[in-house]
Symmetry: C2
Subunit: 399 residues, 2 copies
């Protein structure tokens, strides 16, 4: 058990707002944490993130373990000081990337993490040279192809050196293509590792247990029962979350009743608009997703209703020639500084000429879009207007 | 003649400080203008540049002519509005790049503009497929390989559409390897074009005449006499400036006596520390150079004395493994926000992982270094302490 306070401040059926306090400050939930994979949110500075009102970032243990290494970060005073971010931080366990990137081929990353896909559901099966057994995961570094070994003990030790406010246990994230038998065996390992992680954990970092079980009701419930029997500070639902949005909703519906009301709930790797609405509605508090910044670098800008719809996925292809002479901002309904200062035509020009400012402006706008959405969701729940907001964004409610 | 005011405010022998007023504001000289090649200073935002105190940027007519095109920029309200920069702007004529990049091979750029080299002295001779004759320059676009034709009339027309505060005439920039006979013939063309540019120029943009003549005293003096006989708002010394620093000093010494005291003097494409000291000492007011931002992207950070010296070229190789665990800022004597907030180790990590924030932080620091140096130079001249400052930076005075 580490340092974590969590106070629910309002609710609307299962949806709730809360104030989460971690060592470096507070987070108003429901919240989306921008992803600072390698100790930086791609294309943005900490100053940008402060301006955007980000309260929590998540960093990637796999990458930081290999470069610059936990010892270097510890020597330099820990992750907060290293990356000049004095607000709360989360680190993941490193397990997911160890397995999915175990291929040793850096270019495979793009395929495994396609924008908008659930990045916990990569198709690594049959391709990965990472080996998992009951002790841990053997894999090759994408940096230097060196042999690496990640165990639950090592994951916790590494995360302790990194020094985030909140850490995650090592688990095995199975594929949507895995057999039920495989998922069932894997679940035993995930449960054993969860206990090991909790036992070896000695710092005051908050620690999160992860519920697995694929898209099988009995396995998910079994996992929820077991993991919540361990005294974690918060609980996460890990993927694979099935093959469709409906599968994902079912998984959440199965698991949520087992989770203690007074602890935060994190849906790992999820974060596009419709998933957030559906999950907040079901009682999820925390999200992390690379999609806003990854879409930005691919030339897609988020747009709010009425321009943005379920059909266009709230996205505008800024890299399209149609914007070449368009004097409008990305989204006339957006209040961010990019939309106040720059035209679509200029951003199109920057993207076309591959100027770094283009990626920064796009990333800033997309994160503003997501963080503004989370704020609106919190305000709506406080006013008992969540369903109205959901309808405004998603059209007819299909619940 | 366009809108330009120039008031000398102090001097120390030939060195002088002045206030230059252009349509969009004032510039304290001697000044270095950051280069916004494609309507953006690479890796930085206009907000960064305001924070850095930049008062003047120079954009590249060659690139903007081809992408997004002058018509698009004019339709969007001109370059200032397009790039969200409401302070003064200069555009060059497009001639130098038309000739040096006429190869049609984008990757050749890096070779032609090697960091720290005089970028007006590329080795294009014998390799370029650009053709120059008395009417203009035929070349191929590096964007789509299309045939392009740049004449003095067209250069002015394009620059009028772009709408910078100050524009440059089309000239031919000869190579240090050109024969005297070739330079002499080329000079006739450059002089004819200067007159044409002045004659067709109709807006209130200030217009700058360019003195050529290679490293030949008689040709330089001839050019200085002729160009200053035309009523330009300011005068520039174009390269090639010879094969060595000494050649460059000689060229400036030959030309300066011909330039009217009450008009600004721009040394084109020059901007490393020692060149700035030597040129300011000889009476130059304006500089432009891609070196600070280009060095940044190559992993070199500028460092002030005592860390920075003539020998190390005031550069620290940040991309070196020696910085991997170094908790110091880039330069402990630097007052910029990057040096206040980030360690060498973090910047090394960002450069190693090719994170865009690394290029932004490095570019910010390097431009801060140069702009702070220019400010110190102005303050030194005001106090009649320029020689002292030069000695502090460059060691024993060899004048």
């Amino acid at each position: 058990m580490g340092f974590l306070n969590f106070k629910i401040t309002s609710d609307e059926e299962n949806a709730r707002t809360a104030v989460l306090e971690l060592k470096h400050g507070i987070i108003n939930t429901p919240a989306l944490m921008p992803v600072a994979t390698k100790a930086t949110v791609k294309s943005l500075s900490p100053d940008d993130l402060h301006e955007l009102g980000a309260q929590l970032l998540i960093c990637n243990t796999y990458h930081l373990m290999l470069q610059p290494t936990p010892d270097v970060i510890a020597k330099l005073g820990g992750l907060h000081r290293f990356m000049n971010w004095q607000k709360p931080l989360v680190t993941d366990s490193g397990g997911f990337q160890a397995f999915s990137l175990g291929l040793g081929k850096e270019h495979a990353v793009g395929k495994l993490f396609f924008p908008g896909e659930n990045h916990q559901g990569g198709k690594q099966q049959g391709r990965s040279i990472a080996k998992i057994n009951d002790k841990g995961i053997r894999f090759r570094s994408i940096y230097d192809n060196s042999n690496q070994y990640l165990t639950p003990e090592k994951s916790i030790k590494v995360q302790e050196k990194l020094g985030a406010d909140m850490i995650l246990v090592l688990d095995e994230c199975t594929s949507p293509l895995s057999s039920k038998q495989y998922i069932s065996e894997s679940l035993k390992r995930t449960h054993t590792w969860a206990k090991v992680c909790l036992d070896v954990h000695k710092t005051d970092q908050a620690i999160t247990g992860i519920i697995q079980g694929g898209h099988w009701e009995d396995l998910r419930k079994k996992s929820a029962k077991y993991i919540t029997s361990l005294d974690f500070d918060s609980y996460a639902i890990g993927g694979s979350l099935g093959k469709s949005k409906q599968d994902m909703h079912k998984v959440i519906d199965w698991v949520i009743p087992y989770l203690p009301k007074d602890k935060p709930r994190h849906l790992l790797g999820i974060g596009v608009v419709e998933d957030i609405f559906e999950s907040v509605e079901r009682g999820v508090d925390l999200f992390d997703c690379v999609s806003p910044t990854r879409l930005a670098r691919s030339g897609y800008a988020h747009i709010r209703p009425p321009l943005g719809t379920m059909k266009n996925k709230y996205r505008l292809k800024m890299a399209s020639i149609r914007n070449a002479t368009d004097d409008q901002p990305i989204d006339p309904n957006c209040s961010c500084k990019v939309c106040k200062k720059y035209s679509r035509a200029y951003i199109y020009h920057l993207l076309k000429t591959e100027e770094l400012l283009g990626y920064s402006l796009m990333s800033y706008h997309n994160l503003h879009f997501m963080l503004a959405l989370m704020k609106e969701i919190r305000e709506a729940i406080e006013k008992n207007m969540f369903q109205t907001l959901k309808k405004e964004w998603m059209g007819r409610i299909t619940k």
